[in-house]
Symmetry: C2
Subunit: 315 residues, 2 copies
């Protein structure tokens, strides 16, 4: 079945890195398999960072190896540097993303590297990938984090984001993405920044947004992205990774609500929503102390709801 | 100061009618006065329905009388029928809204009247208003509830909504509004229905949307409304009226998050957001058992946040 919008589930990476509990490997496998069975075709399953920094993701290589056995699934992983990329390639990830923080203060805190140093890592990763046989080459995305503002620097100039996007592509990335790491983005800003970055790197080099729902604007920002032609959105099942001290203040946008919105709008995601909602049970059981977010799972689907997929099947 | 978007606070009516607690009159007064002081210029302060049906709103006449003493505030009230309109006029409401449910099944359950019977009440109210001296005539809105779907009927045909909008204007309403009573609306539907209703009744006869956040799409639907020129949005402080059995499942869209989104987009609301957020304290104290919603109050404003109002003041 063809789809209109690609949803990239990032819960096993972005969600799990933000909660204190460590999810057992078997539960991660069950989660990923169940989401894939519900129709999710891309999952960021982990991050190749030192286990002492993120013990929640220490088993990423095993998770990648498992996820690769699921037919049709694009297995994505985050890498902080060349060493991480080598591990990701060895594990067999189909896609790798290196985060470059548009705020240099954030880059220094997050990766302990300046922009110039991160771009040097990018070039190293490109060399690594170019040396691989074609069937083992992962797609390589430069993820511009804090692209819409930073908790350390405040406003992040759009000029800086545009410049870094150009530098990532010049360094050899296949594509760039924009991340609202801090939940600062608003719909007008999303439209404006997507247009400006696309003018710099070309339409096809920017297809994805990674949005958070920190201030409740997540789906409004998706709506803004749709208006300017974005076709890939990251999201997290149950909004996993929300702050336990701020009720309702989820981190990533909630996959269930995102799928509901898109399907209700007639945009095919390929995802079976009731089946997706059932996957929450795996999270609830494996992470008993963690809050799960999402409005649609609580409210239920509207009476007589017809997903876009079904209409497409009838067409 | 001129504004770009009018926010109509409906918490004292739609919020309070949905919670079991009865807010004391003095707290209602403090709430309304504090919101007006924060820059809110229109508040729906109650509903003229029998006290045995909604004891929470039994003091609406006194609330209207108090709210009228606040300079510059438009005092709105809901009326279910001619009798309610007579009480609203006697109390001195500046604006009255009569809900006409696009779903006839819902209309029968909510007002115990068919569409034809509600339109008859509308004509009676128009006669009442036309007989008043000009300075005592309230603005009269026909509010099309369940315009985006109904928990009893499911899908509500757009043709029916368009037809009823035309009938409300023909019966003498000054304007119509569209209400997503059930939280069924999606952004594509909002755009489409607003365009169709405006094609029927004229652009100026439809300026407002009343949206709920039941499935998390509230602000995305606002974004869709903005795209097609809507300039008035109803919302409720603290999302008051959310279902206590569904965490996070708020009823009305949250005024604080709405103001944050609009101001961040550069759209002036005239509302001082930090001051608005402080008003939550009045709700928390007066309704100790009730949940308050909202992401922005929990997360706080972004570092270096500049509201649209301030830019306008500097201009």
């Amino acid at each position: 079945m063809s789809i209109d919008i690609l949803i990239s589930e990032v819960g096993p990476r972005d969600g799990l890195q933000s909660v204190r509990s460590i999810m057992p490997l078997e539960a991660k496998k069950a989660w990923i398999a169940a989401e894939a069975a519900a129709g999710v075709t891309e999952i960021e399953v982990g991050s190749f960072v030192p286990a002492k920094i993120l013990p929640q993701l220490a088993d990423t290589a095993e998770v990648v190896a498992f996820a690769r056995t699921i037919p049709g699934l694009t297995v994505a992983a985050l890498v902080p540097n060349l060493k991480g990329a080598e591990a990701a390639v060895a594990a067999g990830a189909h896609k790798i993303t290196l985060p470059l923080s548009a705020s240099e203060a954030h880059s220094l805190k997050n990766l302990r590297r300046t922009h110039a140093q991160v771009l040097e890592e990018v070039r190293g990763i490109v060399s690594l990938i170019e040396g691989l046989p074609a069937d083992r080459r992962p797609r390589f995305e430069g993820g511009l984090s804090t692209a819409f503002g930073c908790t350390l620097e405040g406003d992040v100039p759009a000029d800086k984001v545009v410049q870094l996007a150009g530098q990532l592509m010049a360094a050899g990335c296949d594509e760039v993405g924009l991340s609202d790491t801090t939940g600062y983005a608003n719909p007008a800003q999303v439209k404006g920044l997507v247009r400006r970055v696309r003018a710099e790197v070309g339409e096809h080099a920017l297809s994805g947004l990674h949005l958070h729902n920190t201030r409740g604007l997540g789906l409004a920002n998706v709506m803004a992205g749709l208006e300017v032609g974005i076709t890939t959105f990251d999201s997290s099942l149950g909004g996993l990774g929300g702050c336990p001290f701020a009720p309702g203040a989820s981190g990533n946008i909630v996959t269930e609500d995102l799928v509901f919105m898109l399907e209700a709008m007639g945009l095919r995601t390929g995802i079976d929503l009731p089946r997706l909602i059932e996957v929450r049970r795996i999270l609830a059981e494996a992470l008993p102390g963690e809050a799960l977010y999402g409005f649609t799972p609580e409210a239920g689907l509207p009476l007589g709801f017809v997903p876009a997929t079904r209409e497409a099947n009838f067409a």
